[in-house]
């Protein structure tokens, strides 16, 4: 089996996620080549062909140009599987490639069993086992599922994809806007009490912040709470917020979307307060308190104050 892995470059740096794709290829004992629109000064370490195009010419986001380049690499390499990260780059480019190749695309793969792929459904409450019916298959792999290869000194064989550009690109990348800085550094907190959608209304943030304060920790939030502007973005935990690993993570009313779990699952001890026993957060929690947080959180705060 032959794999073509799609690496990503962000602000002129190769993203480490390519090592998870290489780890996936290793798990399959497959031969792999890598595709990258990036820079020859920062390339992935592996044995095989590296199809390289220069991001200075093509920019890091130009779907039509990246599609054309990747199709050229596929044409030369003839892989059975084309493998992306399930990331903002991967889910944008993968369907374009799948369509051009008349391939099947299986998204957000978390496992493989023989030639069938496992992917989450319904906010990760369920799993699907999916079979490709096409000659070629395009995959996007969920972050953090497949073990990354160790650092090594292997050097790939670089195959330049040239620098012909198509000037008619209708999508024009203008640059990046940095994440909001300052405010709360949740990374340093030993205790984090986090609020999820289950708090119900913005006033209930104070229940969470009071508990955090009582315990000498910080409070965080899941994405829906931040999107609803019930609290600031710099308190968001998850892939588009901060990644944290405190001694105690107390998730209140958080169902546990994959993106949230990715940002907190390395916490030493996880307590979840939720009315839904089947919420995905229950899967990784050391303790699940089945309760309405609006009653439980104040009760816990009172007891802790009395200690």
């Amino acid at each position: 089996m032959k794999l073509l892995l799609v690496a990503e470059s962000r602000q002129n740096k190769l993203l480490g996620s390519i090592n998870e794709l290489l780890g996936f290829a290793e798990q399959l004992s497959a031969e792999s080549a890598v595709f990258l629109v990036g820079s020859e000064t920062d390339i992935p370490r592996f044995n095989g062909n590296l199809y390289l195009a220069d991001a200075a010419t093509f920019t890091e986001y130009n779907p039509a140009a990246h599609k054309a380049l990747l199709l050229r690499a596929i044409e030369q390499e003839q892989p059975d599987l084309i493998v992306f990260c399930h990331s903002s780059y991967g889910w944008d480019l993968a369907p374009r490639i799948a369509y051009a190749l008349e391939a099947a695309q299986i998204s957000e793969v978390v496992g493989i069993e023989q030639d069938e792929f496992i992917s989450p459904a319904c906010n990760a409450k369920l799993r699907r086992k999916i079979k490709s019916l096409a000659q070629k298959t395009v995959l996007t792999l969920q972050a953090g599922v497949f073990s990354a290869v160790e650092e090594n000194d292997a050097l790939p064989q670089i195959i330049s994809l040239g620098d012909e550009t198509n000037n008619q690109d209708k999508v024009q990348f203008q640059g990046y806007e940095e994440a909001e800085q300052g405010g709360v550094d949740l990374g340093k907190a030993k205790i984090i009490v986090s609020a999820g959608r289950g708090i119900g209304k913005p006033e209930n943030i104070s229940l969470i912040s009071t508990l955090a304060q009582t315990m000498g920790g910080e409070y965080g939030a899941s994405r829906p709470v931040v999107d609803a502007q019930w609290t600031e973005h710099n308190r968001q935990v998850g892939t588009t917020g901060q990644s944290v690993a405190p001694k105690l993570y107390l998730a209140c009313g958080i169902s546990g979307a994959i993106q949230h779990l990715a940002g907190m699952k390395k916490s030493e001890f996880i307590v979840a307060v939720n009315t839904d026993k089947d919420a995905p957060i229950a899967e990784i929690a050391d303790v699940l308190v089945v309760a309405d947080l609006k009653q439980f959180v104040p009760a816990l705060t009172e007891k802790l104050k009395a200690l």
Binding site: Y99, V171, E177, P224, K247, F269, A282, A299, L300, E302
Partner: protein
């Protein structure tokens, strides 16, 4: 200006799911159905664009059985002008490719200037339909937008990337956008608008009339993830639960020391 918004009806994710008889999907019984959350942002963005851009006609499209009309009525009450229901009683079996090909077949000769979709559905979660539709219609497409600014025909959007960074992207119409959570604040339909929505055109087309591509993948099984076990489940009265948790934290962690 002609705008198309594609929406999907999904179960409320808080629902208690059960696996269907043949083991390949969740059972549709006993579920509360609602508009896919990402699509609410798509509808809202279309309505805001109409409010900003003046003369516009918004078509909302949904594929599924009869019950999806309830969700379409919400989109009409939010401000869409007309509905197109593609009737398909077994839509849960269809992959993103089949659905996007059907929508493309409908949209091809309609000359939409802007198409909005959610970035993914909450149940299937493939995140492919919007991009595939754009490829089929040969439209530029920007995914995962969290900001949309319309200025005299030119569009500037922000794409959400990992770690809170955003990419700023310019594109002109016609174009397709897939909407991420937080793009805007979807409005609640008002009662007068709910009444008005009942009078708006809602056309039904049979799926078979538009379906020309065979699926390229098949869900062979749906199942619940294995519980890892080890996690302690506490139930009961809040005050008792608080005592139990404090005891556990004292034994297992150092945070209360």
């Amino acid at each position: 200006m002609k705008i198309l918004v594609c929406i999907k009806q999904v179960p409320d994710m808080e629902s208690k799911f059960k696996i269907d008889g043949d083991g390949t999907w969740y059972s549709p019984g006993d579920l509360v159905w609602r508009m896919n959350e990402y699509d609410e942002y798509a509808v809202e963005q279309a309505v805001q664009l109409k409010e900003k851009g003046g003369e516009a006609d918004i078509t909302v499209l949904c594929i599924g059985p009869e019950r999806v009309k309830e969700t379409m009525k919400k989109a009409l009450a939010m401000g869409c002008d007309r509905g197109v229901h593609i009737a398909d009683d077994s839509n849960w079996k269809k992959d993103a490719l089949t659905n996007s090909a059907v929508i493309a077949e409908f949209a091809r000769d309609k000359n939409f200037d802007y198409i909005f979709t959610g970035m993914q559905s909450q149940d299937r979660g493939s995140g492919q339909t919007g991009v595939l539709l754009a490829e089929m219609l040969d439209l530029p497409c920007v995914t995962t937008i969290v900001d949309f600014v319309f200025d005299a025909g030119a569009i500037t959007v922000k794409r959400e990337l990992e770690g809170g960074i955003k990419a700023i992207v310019k594109v002109s119409s016609p174009a397709l956008f897939t909407c991420q959570l937080g793009l805007n604040t979807p409005r609640y339909p008002t009662l007068p608008n709910i009444m008005k929505a009942k009078k708006k055109e809602l056309l039904s087309i049979a799926m078979e009339q538009l379906q020309k591509i065979a699926p390229r993948q098949e869900t062979v099984k749906m199942f619940f993830p294995e519980k890892k076990g080890g996690g302690l489940v506490l139930e009961g009265d809040s005050a008792d639960l608080a005592d139990q948790l404090i005891k556990i934290l004292k034994e297992k962690t150092t945070v209360l020391a």
